[in-house]
Symmetry: C2
Subunit: 385 residues, 2 copies
Amino acid sequence: MATTTVNYPEEFKGFAISDPSEWSNPKLTSYQPKNFGPRDVDIEIECCGVCASELFTLKNEWSHGELACLSSTYGPKTQCVGHEVVGKVVKLGSEVESGLKLGQRVGLGAQASSCADCSRCKSGNEQYCPKIVTTYASRYEDGYISQGGYASHVRAHENLVFPIPDGIESHLVAPLQCGGLTVYSPIKRGIEDVLAKGEKPTVGVIGIGGLGHMAIMIAKALGAKVVAFSRSNAKKEDAIKMGADEFVATGSDEGWEKKLFDQFDLMLNCASSTTSLPLDGLLSTLKVNRQFVSVGLPHIDEKFDVNPFTFFSNGSTIGSSCLGSKQEAIELFDLAVKHNFSPWVETIKVGEEGVSEALTRLDKGDVRYRFTLVGFNEFFGTGKQ
Amino acid sequence: MATTTVNYPEEFKGFAISDPSEWSNPKLTSYQPKNFGPRDVDIEIECCGVCASELFTLKNEWSHGELACLSSTYGPKTQCVGHEVVGKVVKLGSEVESGLKLGQRVGLGAQASSCADCSRCKSGNEQYCPKIVTTYASRYEDGYISQGGYASHVRAHENLVFPIPDGIESHLVAPLQCGGLTVYSPIKRGIEDVLAKGEKPTVGVIGIGGLGHMAIMIAKALGAKVVAFSRSNAKKEDAIKMGADEFVATGSDEGWEKKLFDQFDLMLNCASSTTSLPLDGLLSTLKVNRQFVSVGLPHIDEKFDVNPFTFFSNGSTIGSSCLGSKQEAIELFDLAVKHNFSPWVETIKVGEEGVSEALTRLDKGDVRYRFTLVGFNEFFGTGKQ
C-alpha cells in the first residue's frame, strides 16, 4: 500500500493527467495541496460522483489554450478532476464560522471558493461571484490551480462545503452536488412564481441523461407536472419510472409541438448541445414570457442557433444557469430525503482502472444514469480517524 | 379632389405598393376593405405614425416569399402599411361590447385582430394569440390580407382598438401605439418584481432611435434609473434630455463593461440588429437571473450570435418581446399624460410626396426620432361628420 497511502496533510493523492491525450487514463499522482487559508476546510474523501464536465476539462474542450494546471504558480502541473465529493471534515481553518465540525459528513460540488464579500455572495448567488474558483482546473488568487475529488482529500472554502443530512447514502448524495444542484437551481427559480400563486407548474426536461434524470425527480418533488423530451423512445420507460408524467420522442412523435403549444412554465435543456435540438418547436411550447434554460454544457464554440423572431410568438427567453448556491444544495438534500428520491447510480471502485472505466463509459454514453467512484478510504488508507 | 376623396364605406383609399421595388414610392390607391364583422370597428384616420417595421414589410425583408397581398382571396393585390393610427370611430359592429362610441378618438397599433377566445387573449396577452392578425400584410381567416393606416380608414377588431384619453395630442400619441407599446410591455414586465419590492430598478436602453427614445422616457416614468447605450456620443445630449441618468458610448468609452458590472435589472435592445452589438459585454452588466430583451427587429435570417457560456456568469437570458396588450396601451397613455412625456415627433403632411419623404428619410436614419403623417382629413376629404 506504500504507493497509495497518503502523507496527509503535506500531500494529497489523486488521479491526474498532464496532457489531454491522457483523458481516459489518469494516473495516481501525489501533489501539494493549496496553501491552507483561515476559512478553508479539508475533506477526507469517501466517494466522488463522475460528471460529464470532467470529460470537457480532461479533453481541454472548454479552452482554446493549454491545460490550466500548466500555468500554476505552485502546486502540481497535473490535473485531477472530480467535483461531486462526499467525505468527512478532517481540518478546519482558524476563522471558520459556519459551524462545521471535525468528523462531520460533508460534500463539495463544482465550486471550491468565492470572495464571500460581494453582493452576489451575500445574496445567495455565490455561484455567480466574479471571483469564483471551481473545484478543479481553476486559478486561486495565489496562483494555485484547483485540484478535484478523484483524490484522497480536497480543500475548499467553508462557504462551499455542504453539510449532508442523515437519510441519504453517500454514493447517492454525491451526484446531487453538481448535477443535481445544477438542475435544482433553475427549476426552483423558474417555477417559484407559479407555485406562489398556488398553481401547478409544467416543466419540460429535455435530454434524459445524467442531468435530466435528476431534473425529472426534482421538478416532480417540487410539485410540477413533468414532461420528458428525448430523441427516441429508448428511455421512455426509465423516464416514467423517474416520475415523468408524459414522454415525448421528438424524433418520432408526430405533431408534438402543436399538441403541447402553450403548455410549459419552464423548459430545462439537459442535453449537451442546443444545435441538434428542434429548438423552434420546443420554444413554441412555452407559455408567454417563460424561459428555456440550458444547463447541458456544450463545446466552447457552440452558439445558440436561434432567430430573434422565434421568441416573438410568446415573448420567451433563452439562457443558461450555472450550478446553484450552498443554500440551494441544502434545500435539495432535504427535498431528496423528504420525498425519498435519489439519482440512479452505478458504483465503481476507485483506482486507475475504475477511473478509466468510468470516464471511458461516460464518454460513450454507457451510463444509466450516473457513476459514483467509491472505496476511497480503502484505496488511500484513510477513514481511520 | 375627385382622385383623393373616398367613397366610404364601399372604398378605402391609401398609399400602396404592388412590388418591393416601389417601397419608397407608394401610390394613392383605392381598395375594397375587409368584410365587416360584428365586432369590427372602422376608424376614420386623422394621422398615422411611421414605424421602421414598415420598411421591412415594404421591402419584403421579413419574408422569403412574395408580398403577402398577392395571395389574398379578395381585396387588393397591393399593400398599404401604417400601424400607429389615430382617428375617430365611424362605424361599430352589431356585437361590439367594449363601450366604444361613434365619434370617439381612438387608436390602432400593430395588431388588428386576435381570436378573443384563447387563454392568451383572455389573460391580457392577445399580442401572443396564435391567430394574431397584424394591422397590415397579414391574413384574416377569410383570406383578406390586412391593409394599414397610411389610408383614409382602417378596420379592426374592437379588442385591439384603443380608447385615447384627453391630454395628449394625436400626432404625439400615434407613435406610442406600436413603438411605445413595444417597449412599454417588456419594461413593465421586466421590472415589476423589483418595483414590487420597493426597490428602484436599473434599466439599460440600447440604441437611441425611434424605439429607444421612447424606452428612456417610459422606463424613467415607471420609476427606473435609466442608462442609455449608443455606439457614439452623437445622441448623448438628446438621451439626457429624454431622461437618461447616464449615457454610455460603447464604441469609445473605455471599460464600461467593468464599470457597469452587475448593475442592470433589465437590458432592452432597441437596435435593429444584435449581431453588431457588444453582446458579451452588455450581458455581463446584468444582475443575476435578469433578462436581455430585444425589440428591435432584425432581418429574417439574423441569429442571436451568442455562446451559451456567456450566460453562465450571471444566469441571464436573452429573448424578444412582441408588441403589448390593449390593457398595456391604456396604461401607457395614462402614464404619458400623468408624467407629461411624449415622443419627439416631426410631422409630415400625408400624400404621395409626404409618404415617400418619410420612408426615404427613415431608411437613411434621418429622423429624430419619429415621424407622424398628418393632415389625413384634409387630404381625403374626411372629418366632416
